[in-house]
């Protein structure tokens, strides 16, 4: 039960609530017009894969869906050996993207590409 254990350690007490630098989802929109592809990619007009960035807090809250190992690694980093890195902030869930495009022979193609947009982040 890391929740109660954490309260015994002073520097854990300082981490209450989400810090601005905490691991979180960031936008990274790229417009197909930038790539000069907007005359054959009909929709969407831009692709925003997003990415995860930030430090993983010592207290890994439930919404991070972090595996138990990440909790252990965080403790090892904090209490035993700082050379063991903190868990990394990486994408947790993805969603596909639907693209409508013109084909070489004048046809029109609707296709869904799997796992192309990060929907949430985790620490592990």
């Amino acid at each position: 039960d890391t929740g109660t254990l954490a309260h015994d350690l002073p520097n854990y007490l300082r981490e209450q609530g989400r810090e601005k630098s905490d691991c979180s989802l960031r936008p990274f929109p790229v417009s197909f017009a930038q790539l000069g592809w907007d005359h054959w990619i009909i929709a969407p007009h831009r692709y925003n894969p997003r990415y995860c960035k930030g430090t993983c807090p010592h207290l890994l809250r439930h919404d991070y869906h972090a595996p138990n190992h990440a909790v252990v690694q965080s403790f090892v980093h904090q209490l035993v050996d700082a050379s063991v890195p903190r868990p990394s902030c990486v994408p947790y869930r993805y969603s596909p993207i639907s693209v409508l495009m013109i084909e070489p022979n004048g046809g029109i193609l609707y296709k869904e590409y799997e796992n192309m947009i990060a929907e949430s982040c985790t620490c592990r």
Binding site: S31, A33, Q34, L35, G36, W37, H39, W40, I41, I42, A43, P44, R46, Y47, N48, P49, S95, P96, I97, S98, V99, L100, M101, I102, E103, P104, N105, G106, G107, I108, L109, Y110, K111, E112, Y113, E114, N115, M116, I117
Partner: protein, 218 residues
């Protein structure tokens, strides 16, 4: 305020999987011949896209496409004068060569307008399947209730024969003008029916086969 990226600044093979997958289809890659699609096929697919995905391109949970790939194939006509009196007869061929192996056909429908309003009357249309020359013609009846005026005919059985799939589909677009012929639009051509292939792409989103070491066919 992003300045446009000069394409030259992109690495020869972009590392973003989506861009990599799309680049194989970009103009300049082999096969580009025709200008952009327009008119009713484009409007049809844009409506389909808006029902299936949001502005960011994320598929909607409520979409009921049943597949991850839909290809609209436009017909090529055999030329000649389609009008003969009140009748409009146009032979159409849909070429299906070169379908990617990873895309497996689930369903195929031909979409057309069964009825067009004219200034003075209507144009009523139907589709006939042109099978082997000696076989009687098959009048294709719509298999789905017209939506937004469009009718759909399921032609899957005519495309998949046994284990193989046909290289082309030949149809006749037959219309008759009901009402008085008057004015210049008596000879208006109905929009050409288009073929929709509902495909399951087993490699959607992965690096295109060409990116993998080439495996020789057994």
């Amino acid at each position: 305020n992003q300045s446009p990226l000069p394409l030259g600044s992109l690495p020869a093979v972009p590392t973003l999987p989506l861009l990599q997958a799309l680049q194989t289809r970009a103009p300049g890659s082999p096969g580009w011949q025709v200008g952009p699609a327009s008119g009713q096929p484009l409007r049809y697919m844009l409506n389909l896209y808006r029902r299936a995905a949001d502005r960011e391109g994320r598929p909607r949970r409520s979409r009921s496409l049943g597949t991850n790939t839909i290809r609209l194939v436009q017909a090529s006509s055999h030329g000649g004068q389609p009008w003969a009196g009140r009748w409009y007869l146009q032979a159409l061929t849909y070429h299906l060569e070169g379908q990617p192996e990873a895309e497996h056909l689930l369903r195929a429908t031909v979409v057309y307008l069964p009825s067009l309003s004219l200034a003075h009357g209507r144009l009523l249309c139907a589709l006939e399947l042109v099978a082997a020359s000696e076989a009687p013609r098959v009048l294709l009846s719509p298999t789905a209730r017209p939506r937004h005026g469009w009718a759909e005919v399921d032609v899957t059985p005519y495309l998949v024969l046994g284990n193989s799939s046909m290289e082309s589909l030949a149809l006749r677009h037959v219309c008759v003008r009901a009402g008085r012929a008057a004015g210049h639009n008596a000879l208006v051509a109905p929009s050409r029916p288009f073929l929709l292939l509902y495909l399951n792409d087993t490699q959607a989103g992965l690096a295109p086969p060409a990116a993998e070491p080439h495996r020789h066919r057994r």
